[in-house]
Structures are given as structure tokens and as C-alpha cells.
Symmetry: C2
């Protein structure tokens, strides 16, 4: 996690992404399934939002899900137990100093994590060492620069740019989705395949209007109001105008587009 | 067509889009097929690039393809004949003053046309009158604001914005893709469904790197160099920097994203 202003708005922690927009979960995860008996390392599990989806879809695989935050791991453990899942072990661990043996995992899964790291390349190198030859890595990230909408709005663009700037200042990269191909390739993975996962929202998809445009994306941008103004990135008036314009895209004639990117690579 | 600076770079006239990037044709057209015996009006066929794809995919439907430019229609006729297609009739016609009876077509197809029109809503109303009840309209448009890439580049964004501005000044709208849902809905079509068609290009897809990033998108932006500079929208130096940066996205570690939008609606 890169800082306080992201906390609570991170898609990893957003129930709404799951409860109100099942189609989005399908969009991101429906093509990820691990064979029975395989051991999968989930890096940066946060409070376990992806963990539950992941473990349910591969009931005969075993998951070791780790996060640098002990508090998040506790929350993830409660969530996994509440879901009745028995194929997940949770552990607090810093991936840059992880107590795991080289080549001890069959697969690695990394979702909404690299965007927060100052050293995403090093993180990929670390997990590559933990992966056995023939194993796969799956990386999913968003890209805040992929957001566009109707009606178009300069203030909304500036409000979004505040989050990008704050995340950059904190060492992260909100535009990392589009970079997954070179990042994963440069880390030495083979057969890298990246597929974009575009969330397209218009009034014919009301569950996404509410669950994604309003309560996920716009809420995430609204969450940086105070730090953005405090950092002098924007005036309060302009920021609020941007938020109004984002809500405007959720009206009957509005449209909202955002893309996630999913990369899969193999360790040879 | 909205003006000279678009001519020759319009995807409708771009052979490369077809010859070198068959996957792109599939992306846009693979789910369009008309039943045998149906009569389809293609509005704004240009030089017939889409016409050939369309007529081949529905060999038992009949097409009447029209364009306001007699010169384009002649070129389209040669192309259709060269392709050996016998289910296409070509005719010069202005859709706003078309000599067709109301409700005389089973389906209407409109591809890369609305972006050039000052009155897209009126055009949709006109074709709706020509369509029989129960017939469908299919609209495909690009959206130049959907382009983003790695490495990111401010000058490249400004060069793209020049095309957007020039098209706006000519009465068109290069950001129309994202607006298809409200446009087609407001024209009174029912069951409107819009699906985005994202072109994602990285080094693992070399035919798209060359056929789309370089020779379609970047070439299209390069084509507005003179009018953009003449209009005072940008300096020559800044524009050329933008073009260099667009070519940079076609290198081994580059990524390029662009989205088309396809809308289908029904006349009740």
C-alpha cells in the first residue's frame, strides 16, 4: 500500500466491486484456474477480496496468501474463514524479504499490487525466484489513464490526474496496467501474454453504473480530495467540479470506460 | 468526409487495416452477418473497404452501398468488382436527401461515418425512417480520445489533440465512439447494445505494431501536420516530437491501446 489516501479505496478492499458487479469479477478472473494439487503464492493479498474469488475457482489447488500488513492478513483470514474456504493459508510477509525457498511454488498470482510499489521490477524478479520452472505468473493491474467518459470533462480529468500524481509521489504508478507487457517480459518470463479487460459502462448496465462508475472509480477519486488540495495539485472548487462531472457520466446518457490489464507469463 | 486532412487516412480507405491486420477486421466485423434475402443499406461506403468485408460475410444478403462522393463510389465499384462480389449495388447518394422509400431496407450499416458529420443525430433519424420495423442498425466508430500508450508522452497527446481539434472545427467529432449509446438510443432505436472493441498492441503482436500503431494510427496523426501547424494549434517542433513518441510506442517495449465502439439497435 502506498499511503493513507489509497487505503479504503483500493479495489482490493472494495466489497462493491464484488457484491454489486459480479460481471467485473468474471471479467478479471474467469480465465484463472489452477490444477488440483498445485501450490499458488498470492502476493499482496490485502484483506483477501481476490483471495476468496481465487480459491473458490480452484478448489483443489492450495493457496498461500501473503501481505506485508499483519492487520490486512487478519482481515483476510476472517474473510476466508467466513467463506468456508479450507485451501488457503494466510501469512504476514514482506515479499522483498520472504522466508520462502527458491522454486517452492507452482504458480504466483499478483493482483492490484505492483501499482503501489516503487520497485515493481525487483518484485517480479523476487517472485520469479520463488517459482518452479514451468510455473506461471499472473499479474492484474488497473490503469487510471485508461479512464474516459461521456460527457467528456477537463475538470474530471484533472481530478483523476491528482490521484495519479499522489500515487507517483508515494512511489507508485497508477498507469502501470499498460506497462505490464514490458515489465513481465523484462523480468525474464517467457510466452508473456497480456489481455486488456475493458469495463464499459452505459445505462443499459445499471449494476456497473452504480457498482463501478459511482462507487468504485468516482469514490476512489473522491478519496484523494483532501491530500490533493493540501498538496496544491488543484483547488477545492475545481476538484469538486471534476467529481460532479464524474457523477454526471453515471446519468442515463452517460458512458464510462476503464481498462484493467492481465498478464500471464511462464518461468522457463 | 470532413475535410482534406482526413482524406487518405480515414480507416475506411486504409488498405493496411485490412491487408496487414486481419485480426482487426475480425475484431470489428466478425459478429455482423445478415440473413439470406435481406436488403442492407450501407451508408457512407467510401471507397468500399468495409463493403467487401461486409458482403463477403453475408453472401446471401443484398447490399446497397451509398456514398455522397461519386468518386468514392466509383472506387468502391472497382473494388467490389475486383473482389468478384455480385451481391452489392453501388450508388452515389446524399443520405440527407436520399431517393429511397421509407421502410425499404431490412438493415442499415454505418461504419466510420458519424464522426465526420455535423449532424449525426439527424443522420440516424433519416436512416431510421428508411428501415423497416424489426430491422437493425449497426454503427461502428473509433474514438481518438481512447488512445493511450507506453511510454506515455505529453507531446504525442498534443499531436493527437490536433486531429481532434481539426475534426471538431470541420464539424466532426473524433470522440464519437464513446457516445454511441446515447446517440443511437436518443434516435429512438430499441434494445441498443454497445460493445467496445479494444485494439491492444504490444511486441508479441507484430502485425498490429506495424499495421495499426505505425501505419494506421500514427500515419493518421502525421497526416494533419501541415493543417495543425497552419492553424496555430501546435509548433512544428512539438508536433514532430509527438510523432517520434508515437513511433517510440511501436518499439519492443512499447504498448499501444485504441478502442472502437460498435452499437446495434432495433427499430420497433
Amino acid at each position: 500500500m502506498s499511503g493513507k489516501y489509497v487505503h479504503g479505496y483500493d479495489p482490493r478492499e472494495n466489497e462493491r466491486l464484488h457484491d454489486q458487479a459480479g460481471t467485473l469479477v468474471d471479467l478479471l478472473h474467469s480465465d484463472t484456474a489452477y490444477p488440483g494439487g498445485s501450490l499458488v503464492l498470492e502476493v499482496g493479498c490485502g484483506v483477501g477480496a481476490q483471495t476468496v474469488t481465487l480459491a473458490r475457482r480452484s478448489p483443489d489447488a492450495r493457496f498461500l496468501s501473503v501481505d506485508v500488513s499483519a492487520e490486512s492478513v487478519d482481515a483476510a483470514r476472517r474473510r476466508v474463514e467466513a467463506a468456508g474456504l479450507e485451501n488457503v493459508e494466510l501469512r504476514q510477509a514482506d515479499i522483498f524479504d520472504a522466508p520462502f525457498e527458491a522454486e517452492s511454488f507452482d504458480h504466483v498470482f499478483v493482483c492490484f499490487v505492483l501499482e503501489h510499489l516503487a520497485q515493481p521490477r525487483e518484485a517480479l524478479a523476487v517472485v520469479k525466484r520463488l517459482l518452479r520452472p514451468g510455473g506461471t505468473i499472473t499479474v492484474i493491474e488497473g490503469d487510471h489513464g485508461s479512464a474516459y467518459f461521456h460527457p467528456d470533462s477537463a475538470p474530471a480529468g484533472e481530478a483523476i490526474e491528482c490521484l495519479v500524481e499522489l500515487q507517483r509521489a508515494a512511489g507508485g504508478n497508477s498507469l502501470i496496467g499498460r506497462e505490464l507487457y514490458p515489465l513481465v517480459s523484462d523480468a525474464g518470463f517467457a510466452s508473456v501474454h497480456v489481455s486488456p479487460r475493458m469495463v464499459y459502462v452505459d445505462a443499459s448496465r445499471p449494476e456497473l453504473v452504480d457498482g463501478f462508475t459511482r462507487k468504485t472509480f468516482t469514490a476512489m477519486i473522491e478519496g484523494v480530495r483532501e491530500p490533493a488540495i493540501a498538496a496544491g495539485l488543484i483547488t477545492a472548487e475545481r476538484f469538486d467540479e471534476g467529481i460532479r462531472d464524474l457523477h454526471r457520466t453515471a446519468e442515463a446518457d452517460g458512458v464510462f470506460c476503464y481498462s484493467f490489464f492481465k498478464a500471464v507469463g511462464e518461468k522457463r
